[in-house]
């Protein structure tokens, strides 16, 4: 890549002295200076225009607005937020909302995508056809429309709050979203939390030990039941012994709707559904080509060794396919995170939505859009750094 591409023709005779303007190094430097100059000029022109305009039109500048009271309400938030809080906190709320929907969306899209990707390769004709229909539909319709569609379906099909469904006691489903009971915090629950933490550590240690034994002896690890036991038994016993109160905050109907408990709004639900379903279509294709990318001989060899089909997939094919799958999947994760910005169209208060509102309330477009872009850029860079590191880790170590 770093080879000089613009070298003059080589002659057999010792190089004749070339004129300086034909010297590739000099030309390279000149070309760079020229490009840099042009770019700098353009930037300077735009900056100058902007400054003049801001000055002439008396538009406020600077980031001091971040400390001011925001004055508007945000529909849902991970941390507490009231209109009396600052713009800075509003941005944090927006960012957290973006991260929330992206993280959950990534998990759901991955699960769904892997299932459908494997489904497309199924020997079952019906399953394969259904899976490919799914992919052809979801990938070929704009995400924005899918979001509108899901939001419309949710707000139309679900009953109004006063005729809310209660699929499980305490769980309420209506046009206002899903409300569910949450545990009320009590200080006496702390020992339980500590025990739960210790159990987790024990489970990790146990899993390591089993893997070591597997490496040494080839004995297949017993994981599911023992780990479940480690996680659940001590905590249950402790709870019975200590009798810490476990009370739930159950949503109850008030004047207009259900209050209390936890809630998932229809906006969040529609965005999550839309993002996961859309991205799963892409992940499915990646998974499929990843699996097809593993040489057929691997499948045959594992079949010859007597592995069942599910075990072939799990132990032989998928680990190898993963190397092909991970890089493009990462960029799908990035896409999902960026696509969550469409939240603004269906009223989920994500980063873009908050930035947009702030922009309109303060009139400071440059600052608000700048903050928004900087945050997205940082998220993108962070994810790609992490994934590069992960790629290196799982890369094939060849002898």
């Amino acid at each position: 890549m770093a080879q000089p591409l613009s070298q003059p023709p080589r002659t057999t005779a010792p190089a004749a002295p070339v004129a300086w303007w034909r010297n590739p190094t000099v030309r390279g430097i000149l070309a760079q200076l020229l490009v840099l100059g042009v770019v700098a000029l353009i930037v300077a022109y735009l900056v100058d225009n902007t400054l003049t305009n801001l000055e002439e039109r008396r538009i406020r500048t600077g980031f001091s607005f971040l400390e001011q009271e925001a004055g508007f309400a945000i529909g849902e938030s991970v941390i507490s937020f009231s209109p009396a809080d600052s713009y800075a906190r509003a941005f944090v709320v927006g960012l957290l909302n973006t991260l929330k929907v992206s993280l959950i969306g990534i998990v759901l899209a991955t699960l769904l995508g892997v299932l459908i990707g494997i489904g497309r390769l199924s020997s079952n004709w019906l399953v394969a056809k259904l899976a490919s229909t799914y992919v052809e539909i979801t990938r070929n319709v704009p995400l924005l429309l899918q979001l509108f569609f899901w939001y419309a379906v949710i707000t139309i099909l679900l009953p109004s709050v006063r005729q809310a469904l209660e699929p499980l006691p305490g769980f309420v489903l209506s046009k206002s979203g899903l409300q569910f009971p949450v545990l009320i915090y009590d200080p006496s629950q702390i020992p339980l939390l500590i025990i739960l933490g210790l159990s987790l550590v024990a489970a990790v240690i146990y899993r390591r030990r089993e893997k070591r034994i597997q490496l040494a002896t080839g004995r297949e690890p017993r994981l599911l039941l023992p780990i479940l036991a480690i996680m659940l038994v001590p905590v249950t016993l402790a709870h019975l012994a200590l009798g810490a109160p476990l009370e739930f905050d159950v949503p109850e109907f008030q004047r207009f709707n259900y209050r209390g408990g936890g809630s998932v709004t229809p906006e969040f639900l529609a965005l999550l559904l839309g993002l996961s379903i859309y991205t799963a279509g892409f992940i499915a294709e990646i998974v499929r080509s990843g699996i097809l990318g593993v040489p057929w001989g691997q499948t045959e060899a594992s079949a010859a060794l007597g592995f069942r089909r599910t075990l072939q997939l799990r132990l032989i094919i998928l680990p190898q396919a993963l190397r092909i799958i991970v890089p493009p999947t990462t960029s799908q994760y990035l896409n999902l995170t960026k696509n969550s910005s469409l939240a603004v169209a269906i009223g989920y208060p994500d980063l873009v939505s908050v930035a947009n509102t702030s922009l309109n309330q303060t009139g400071q477009a440059i600052e608000c859009i700048g903050i928004m872009m900087a945050i997205y850029l940082s998220i993108s860079l962070l994810i790609s750094f992490y994934m590069n590191w992960y790629n290196k880790r799982i890369a094939l170590v060849e002898r």
Binding site: F72, A73, F256, R259, S353
Partner: protein
């Protein structure tokens, strides 16, 4: 080098195509050169600015622009209406995409001081209210504690809403939906129990958009002051003066009983010096503004006085059925008061 040249050529062409001169120098000169006023209006708000089936714009805000065009060109149709949403409106005005913004825009200190605009006199005194489905049985906004409220982002509405609930120690959940149509869809689907915007807007929505107009009621509380009027860019005082005095001329005409029907006759016969100055029969008002002597006459004959425009677009005989209220003349207990034309 062919490829390189082709690339450079294409890029340069695109850059050239991208920049388009819209106005040069003082706004009035540019407008006169163009022969049209560019007027930013709402994308569709019954009574204020809405295109009819033939694509002709009507509404109170629209007629303000027509009045300015009548003053400048003597032709109320010399207007290019540019529909703008809440987000675009200020940028469009700042950048010169429109010469005047007549889009139910509230005059506030922040906007006046930090957005680089000047507000011409208020053409409609409004206030924010709440609309609820009638079957909810709510009779006062103070009963709305805990409700989910649909509101459009980036408006003073959003801020007033938060203020009102804080002041009354109530809670609410904001469902903030970008876009007027979508926020209405969301409200009518039943996602929110309450919709909030200016009272006139609520009346327009019930008249024009509600699937069943009788199924919704507007609550009596008006929680804010929303003086709506045209705005122009800062830095061109001459143009600002024209916008300002066009509105005053319409109000003054109503006060003096000059209507689109009797204007010609009054110009010839009226002995009232104010009417004579307004209609250009005496004085040099037009010249002082940089306009024709006929400017006031053109406004009144082609668009009408303020009262006529009000009745035609939002008054009791329109689907909006709004009373004059605050928008009546000061002489009848309202707030409409024109500065003296002399």
């Amino acid at each position: 080098m062919q490829l390189k040249n082709a690339l450079i050529g294409t890029t340069a062409l695109m850059a050239l195509a991208a920049a388009q001169q819209v106005y040069a120098g003082p706004t009035l000169d540019a407008i006169k050169d163009r022969g049209q006023i560019r007027c930013g209006v709402n994308t569709g708000l019954a009574g204020f600015s809405i295109p009819d089936a033939q694509g002709n714009w009507t509404g109170l805000d629209v007629y303000v622009c027509r009045a300015i065009a009548a003053a400048v060109f003597g032709d109320a149709n010399a207007v290019d209406f540019i529909p703008l949403n809440a987000q675009q409106r200020f940028t469009a005005l700042q950048s010169g995409e429109v010469d005047v913004l007549s889009r139910n825009t509230t005059w506030t200190l922040t906007r006046d001081a930090s957005l680089g605009l000047h507000f011409a006199p208020t053409t409609f005194y409004d206030g924010q209210g709440f609309m609820v489905p009638a079957d909810l049985g709510v009779t006062s906004a103070l009963e709305l504690d805990g409700a989910e409220i649909c509101v459009q982002p980036g408006t003073t509405t959003e801020l007033n809403l938060a203020d009102y609930f804080r002041a009354n120690d109530m809670e609410f959940t904001a469902v903030v939906i970008e876009g007027f149509e979508q926020s209405l869809d969301t409200f009518f689907s039943g996602r929110c129990q309450v919709y909030t915007t200016d009272v006139s807007g609520l009346a327009a929505i019930i008249a024009n958009d509600a699937p069943d107009p009788d199924a919704y009621v507007i609550l009596p509380e008006v929680i804010s002051k929303e003086p709506l009027g045209p705005a122009v860019r800062r830095g061109d005082d001459e143009w600002f003066a024209i916008a300002k005095w066009t509105v005053y001329a319409m109000i003054e005409a109503e006060e003096k009983g000059v209507t689109s029907e009797n204007a010609s006759e009054m110009r010839a016969n009226s002995t009232d010096p104010t009417v004579q100055r307004l209609l250009g029969a005496s004085g040099n008002m037009g010249e002082l503004l940089g306009l024709d002597q006929d400017w006031g006459y053109n406004i009144i004959t082609q668009v009408g006085n303020y009262g006529e425009v009000f009745e035609r677009n939002v008054g009791p005989n329109t689907p909006l059925r709004l009373q004059r209220g605050d928008n009546d003349l000061w002489t009848r207990g309202g707030l409409m008061y024109a500065m003296p034309i002399r």
